[in-house]
Amino acid sequence: MKEFKGRVITPGEVTAEAVVTTEGFNTLASLQMALQFGDKEVKCGDQSNKQLYGKPLLGKALCLPQTIGSTTGGLVLYCACSMGKSPACMLFSSHIDSLAAAGAVLADVWVEGTSMPVIDCLGDEFLDYVKDGMNITVKEDGTVVVE
């Protein structure tokens, strides 16, 4: 078990199974097809991301360095949250990027009754340590417990 402390972008508490990418997470490429065609598990559709392609993202603790790609990324994330199709939380090893921040903030301000905790600045060690399938607990103050 290891504990990491990050910065809270949008608060919340959750426990979920980790799914990990050490490459940038392309929000549009990853979520679009799943949202569009009602994939119940919201499997990652980004064929360029070999670590995530085909893996379910719904309800998972998505561990990533940052998001990349189209500037629709934030609204795609907002839609995923609105539709109840988002990861349980997003945990960034680096400083959050502008697209992910937009998605997180839009969901927090405009979607009632939905909570997707987003924590950033967890450090490179976090992404080195965490592996697919590990149990993640996110606390209100930005503490992330990995076991």
């Binding site: 064929q47 940052q66 189209s70 500037t71 609204l75 839609c79 609105s82």
Partner: protein
């Protein structure tokens, strides 16, 4: 964040609950980047990334309706990314069924919302809003609340405007409230380069390939590119601007670049030179071999990698008037060499409605039509989002289209050879 009295009043609800939520969104967005203040948006027009009435995006349209119902429309008019469908673009019965019955069923409804929110005019649908024919070209130093990665990187780098890589919805919210948080590419410090890219190729590098290589290397950082002026010159003429449009789109989509400086060419590089480079900047050297390596590493995700292409898209981002003319001449010459009258693969050239209108007034329009090439205002990316199109072998010279879809990338020269029936 330190807000002015007026900003604080908006946040406290002086202009209504919805406007307060818009301000709260922009404040929280800024706080994620340690922004200390909000600054006024100063451009004449805004540009939005969300142009498509995709059924699945209904939460976006619900949110837009909240803004309309609350009467908090933007004080700016705006352009928006290209429309997703055009009947001129080849599609079979099933593909059209998916487009019209499953995917873009909200298009008319959403375009109605855009009109109410301040769309410049019915033709203001393009990713290249900064073209003269479109009329949304910000001035140097203007503060923008734009989204669309290729437009943002162009506005920052070539026009010297200041804009962060905003997401869709944030774009219109900044415009509505009239302020954006001051961080990142809005600041002098954020516009300094943390990478030096040295171009050492033996010929003019392919714009979309060079942009891809740099984007994948520097990700969201700012590169200062040396040695490219040898190939582009030191004047921002039509040719250089078209090159930088394509180059920038590739840096932004293959990485997350929002600003680049080209030594002796782009405005801030001309004015400030190497003082734009931060101490300790990393160095990336690009020669012919490096570009070849990058190109070879693109995954081929066609089911049959040897399949004969069925469709070719050129113009992501949308082509300029000069590019349409250049392609016309090249295709005519290519067909002459192969002894064919028309292109051998369905080929679609995309450009903004304004550019297409201007092109139609030139003698080149009839000549291009005679080669069999179709022109369209469509967004090729949105066409390729149709899962039935995704299965088709589509080729393109756009590295953005390659990144987001199953389309396979080739250089302009390779595309020309293929569509004119030459031997590659």
């Amino acid at each position: 964040m330190k807000l002015t009295e007026q900003q604080q009043q908006i946040l406290d609800g002086a202009q209504g609950e919805t406007m307060a939520k818009v301000m709260k969104t922009m404040v929280m967005y800024g706080e994620a980047f340690e922004a200390e203040t909000m600054v006024p948006v100063t451009s004449k027009h805004n540009h939005l990334v969300t142009s498509f009435g995709l059924k699945v995006m209904s939460p976006v349209y619900d949110l837009m309706q909240q803004l309309i119902d609350a009467g908090v429309e933007s004080g700016q008019t705006f352009s928006v990314d290209p429309r997703p469908v055009d009947k001129n673009v080849p599609a079979n019965f099933l593909q059209n069924l998916v487009f019209n019955k499953f995917m873009y069923t909200k298009q008319d409804f959403y375009e109605g919302q855009l009109s109410k929110l301040g769309l410049m005019d019915k033709n203001a649908f393009t990713c290249t809003c900064y073209m003269d024919e479109v009329g949304n070209k910000p001035g140097k130093g203007d503060i923008l609340s734009w989204a669309e990665s290729s437009a943002v990187v162009y506005a920052n780098s070539v026009l010297g405007a200041r804009c962060n890589r905003n997401s869709g919805i944030i774009d219109i919210m900044g415009s509505i409230v009239g302020y954006v948080p001051y961080f990142g590419l809005l600041t002098d410090e954020g516009r300094k380069a943390t990478w030096i890219v040295e171009i050492k190729t033996t010929k003019k590098p392919e714009a979309q390939l060079l942009g891809s290589a740099i984007g994948m290397k520097v990700m969201e950082d700012v590169p200062f590119v040396k040695g490219l002026d040898k190939w582009l010159g030191s004047e921002l003429n039509d040719t250089a601007c078209a090159y930088l449009k394509d180059f920038g789109a590739a840096t932004a989509s293959n990485g997350a670049v929002g600003l680049y400086h080209i030594e002796n060419l782009t405005p801030e590089a001309v004015e400030q030179g190497e003082s734009l480079i931060k101490e300790g900047a990393k160095v990336y050297v690009i020669d012919d071999a490096e570009l070849e390596r990058v190109k070879k590493e693109y995954p081929v995700i066609w089911k049959n990698p040897d399949a004969k292409p069925k469709l070719c898209f050129v113009g992501c981002p949308h082509l300029s008037l000069e590019q349409l003319k250049d392609w016309t001449v090249k295709i005519e010459e290519g067909l002459k060499q192969t002894g064919k009258k028309k292109v051998v693969i369905n080929t679609v050239f995309t450009a903004s409605p304004g550019v297409l209108e201007a092109f139609e007034k030139t003698e080149y329009a009839a000549r291009l039509k005679a080669t069999g090439v179709i022109t369209s205002y469509i967004c090729p990316l949105m066409y390729m989002n149709n899962p039935l199109c995704k299965k088709m072998p589509v080729i393109t010279s756009s590295n953005k289209l390659r990144t987001y879809t199953s389309a396979r990338y080739y250089t302009d020269a390779e595309i020309l050879t293929t569509i004119t029936g030459g031997k590659s």
